[in-house]
């Protein structure tokens, strides 16, 4: 049970970051960039949180070998963060 929580939590964190960056990327060129005063920052955060929650629950219920999953998390964190930080810096 506790391993399932760990699997779900790792999926949650990664998907929140990824979802937030993709949502930001989708909004490029639309009203809401750094040059305007109407940035739906918290709506974007809330939506990313919801995506993370769904992904976390799905991963926790679907993954059978939690150790094999957790072994891959460091690489996934490196890849996801590289992508997300690039988006955050290039598209403020």
């Amino acid at each position: 049970m506790r391993e399932r929580v760990a699997v779900g939590a790792s999926a949650f964190g990664l998907v929140v970051c990824l979802s937030y960056a993709v949502l930001r990327l989708l909004a490029v060129g639309e009203p809401g960039g750094a040059g305007t005063v109407h940035i739906p920052f918290f709506w974007r955060s809330a939506l990313a949180g919801l995506h993370g929650l769904v992904a976390g629950l799905a991963a926790a219920s679907a993954v059978r070998d939690s150790d094999a999953w957790l072994e891959r998390v460091p690489l996934a964190v490196a890849l996801v963060l590289s992508f997300c930080v690039t988006i955050a810096v290039v598209f403020p």
């Binding site: 399932r4 929580v5 760990a6 790792s10 964190g13 990664l14 040059g35 964190v77 955050a88």
Partner: protein, 149 residues
């Protein structure tokens, strides 16, 4: 207490709590790197760090409407580069909070296994890197664009 004073107070609290969370987050990142098992203190510091990262984020949500209506229009008009750094800071804060919370939960759930500890450490270290960039960006923005209240 006027709205301006309350905003200034909450804004400072937001910044100080964020730096405190950053400092606490360093403890599990370092101790998990030593390859030992999870101690009670290590778990406590990871949980506390996640809480101290989430609290300033929530405070940011409270002061954001005032920032958006009272500070941001002038900031965008007079210093667009500073406004852009502020936006980047917001994005990085989301990544830091998400990874800190998930890292603490991974440690709680799978801290007994080596794979679980490695996963937790990578998430907490990622959160730390994002939080450092967030804190530095916040300091830089505050030093350039503090409202004259």
């Amino acid at each position: 207490m006027s709205a301006e004073v309350l905003y200034a107070l909450l804004e400072r609290l937001h910044g100080h709590l964020g730096w405190l969370g950053l400092a606490v987050l360093l403890h599990p990142v370092i101790t998990l790197g030593k390859g030992r098992g999870v101690s009670r203190r290590m778990q406590l510091s990871a949980d506390l760090a996640a809480l101290l990262m989430a609290a300033p984020f929530a405070l940011g949500a409270v002061i954001y409407p005032t920032y958006r209506s009272g500070v941001k229009p002038e900031l965008v008009a007079q210093a667009p580069a500073v406004a852009a750094v502020f936006e980047t800071k917001e994005h990085l804060a989301v990544f830091a909070v998400a990874l800190a919370i998930s890292g603490a939960l991974v440690l709680r759930g799978a801290g007994k296994s080596a794979a679980g500890r490695r996963a937790a450490r990578s998430m907490l270290a990622g959160a730390f890197v994002c939080a450092v960039m967030t804190g530095l960006a916040g300091l830089w923005v505050a030093s350039h664009a503090h409202p004259a209240w």
